[in-house]
């Protein structure tokens, strides 16, 4: 009898342990509208928040959001402070050496240059270009003849252009579009460019199971069209869908 009780207790414990394990901590930046941002009620909002919550619901995981600086978002994933990065991160070779990615949940969107109205497009090759640090755009500008200044947050890159500190900003078109449309002093210059691959979710390289789980959910959401719905809701009708 005693043995049976013990076994039952052990079983209960392992069951509760398995349940507790299902808390997945999702790391995001919370400063990159419309991908992810903190709204006025101090809550996370954006495309990736909706997507992340939906994926967790489908995979039967309970998820918890963690906000982390962009600059340390990969080291803190690797250190185990959270389990996934879902922060508008483009899938690149350099990043894939450190962490692994799920398949992309958003097609690559062309990067754009934005500058004060009347700025000559030649600044793209010879001027000062602002980007967020550790982004694919920063890597791109470093390869051109233009001078690069990097900022820790996307918001500061725009402020630098307005302050005249930089001639133009290079960033994801999705991020720049609402800003340029609503302001009276900024416009796009130059042609849209494809830099980097699509946007995917980052997980630790040792977390194969978690990556496979999310991969399967993304496939499912691509097939039933729910991912497209989300993309259109947050990025508009013209955004590339699956």
């Amino acid at each position: 009898m005693k043995k049976i009780t013990l076994a039952a207790v052990a079983l209960a414990f392992s069951a509760s342990a398995a349940l507790a394990q299902d808390v997945v901590r999702m790391g995001t930046e919370g400063a990159y509208p419309p991908f992810n941002f903190i709204n006025d009620d101090n809550e996370l909002e954006g495309f990736e928040i909706d997507l992340g919550n939906e994926m967790c619901a489908r995979a039967n995981l309970s998820c918890e959001w963690v906000i982390n600086d962009w600059d340390t978002i990969i080291p803190n994933l690797v250190a185990g402070n959270y389990d996934t990065i879902i922060a508008g991160m483009s899938i690149t070779e350099a990043r894939s050496e450190v962490i692994s990615f799920t398949q992309n949940y958003k097609e690559p969107d062309p990067s754009r240059y934005a500058a004060l109205i009347g700025t000559d497009a030649s600044v793209i090759d010879s001027g000062v270009i602002a980007t967020q640090s550790n982004t694919v755009q920063a890597g791109y500008v470093a390869e051109t003849d233009a001078d690069l200044i990097e900022f820790p947050t996307p918001d500061e890159t725009i402020a630098a252009v307005r302050a005249g500190e930089a001639d133009a900003v290079l960033a994801d078109g999705d991020f720049l579009r609402p800003i340029v449309e609503e302001s009276s002093d900024l416009e796009f210059i130059g042609e849209p460019m494809h830099i980097g691959g699509g946007v995917g979710m980052g997980v630790r390289q040792s977390d194969v199971e978690l990556r496979e789980t999310f991969d399967a959910v993304i496939t499912e959401m691509k097939e039933d069209g729910s991912l497209n719905e989300l993309l259109i809701r947050w990025f508009g009708e013209d955004t590339p869908t699956f």
């Binding site: 394990q21 903190i38 709204n39 006025d40 009620d41 800003i179 609503e182 390289q205």
Partner: protein
């Protein structure tokens, strides 16, 4: 917050601002000032304790203890603060997990370091798996407090050591002539008198500590600087309260806050100096004696 905040776009200016300044993010901004004050309240006594231990180690005759004190003081003072703030929480966090891992999971056969990843078993996770956000915040805050205490403790140690040396040697000799042991002379003569010599140095360190609190942001704690930057940035109509770049006003508020804090603590130190100078053979003590006479 207020009844009329339902549709901010149609509000007159003063109501718009009343709503804007009471949003959830602004309340978090106001709370973050309390976090800064809490950190100061926790770190000050911790650093003073570390400093006292360090100073005693520096004075110790026992060679290993003396070397430990010197090593601590010189190492920490010689490395940029910011490196320590980044190093201590990571090293301490992984150290704790490593120890817990070896206690809870002795049968674990995989290596802890796999490439870039630091992997310990579930039971060894710190903070524990499934801990509330609140518990995690406390954990991060404690890590930050320990890092601050370690760094500032080294400066305090050197200041206190100097202050102990500054107590006139003749007084210690007199105490020993009365038959006190070395320890008794230290407790009864050196300790009570050293503070007046330590005070200018301690007030310096305190001011620097206040000014260092924005480093909290580096440790992933959402302090006042984080919120000022976040709230001040230009907001598109995706937000309920769109506005242009207002960072200058937010940083101005921070400036006023920090200036008030340092100004009022300077007052506090002034009062403390007057109190501790009483009966001392220092210029201030002399002046007090003459004024009283």
């Amino acid at each position: 917050m207020f009844q009329f905040c339902a549709d901010p776009a149609t509000l007159p200016d003063w109501q718009w601002f009343a709503c804007y300044l009471t949003t959830g993010t602004h309340l978090a901004f106001y709370r973050s000032f309390l976090v800064v004050m809490a950190l100061l309240a926790v770190v000050a006594p911790l650093a003073l304790g570390m400093g006292l231990l360090g100073a005693l180690a520096l004075r110790a005759r026992l060679f290993p203890v003396n070397m430990l004190g010197r090593g601590y003081v010189n190492l920490v003072r010689g490395v940029p603060d910011i490196v320590f703030f980044l190093f201590v929480p990571i090293a301490l966090g992984q150290g704790i997990e490593w120890v817990l891992h070896h206690i809870h999971c002795p049968d674990w056969d995989q290596p802890i370091r796999q490439g870039n990843d630091f992997i310990v078993c579930r039971e060894a996770k710190m903070p524990p798996v499934g801990a509330s956000a609140w518990a995690r915040n406390i954990y991060a805050f404690s890590m930050a407090a320990i890092a601050f205490a370690l760094v500032f403790g080294a400066f305090v140690a050197n200041t206190l050591y100097g202050a102990m040396q500054a107590v006139p040697r003749a007084q210690v000799e007199t105490a020993e002539a009365y038959g006190m042991t070395r320890a008794q002379a230290f407790r009864r003569v050196v300790m009570p008198q050293m503070w007046i010599f330590a005070l200018p140095g301690l007030s310096n360190i305190w001011q620097i500590l206040i000014k260092s609190t924005p480093l909290l942001f580096l440790l992933g704690i959402q302090d006042a600087v984080y919120w000022a930057r976040e709230l001040g940035g230009a907001k598109t109509s995706l937000y309920t309260y769109p506005h242009p770049d207002w960072r200058v006003w937010y940083f101005l508020a921070l400036l006023v806050f920090y200036l008030m804090l340092t100004w009022s603590s300077e007052k506090g130190f002034g009062a403390l100096t007057a109190r501790l100078s009483r009966g001392q053979a220092t210029a201030e003590g002399d002046r007090q004696r003459k004024a009283a006479a």
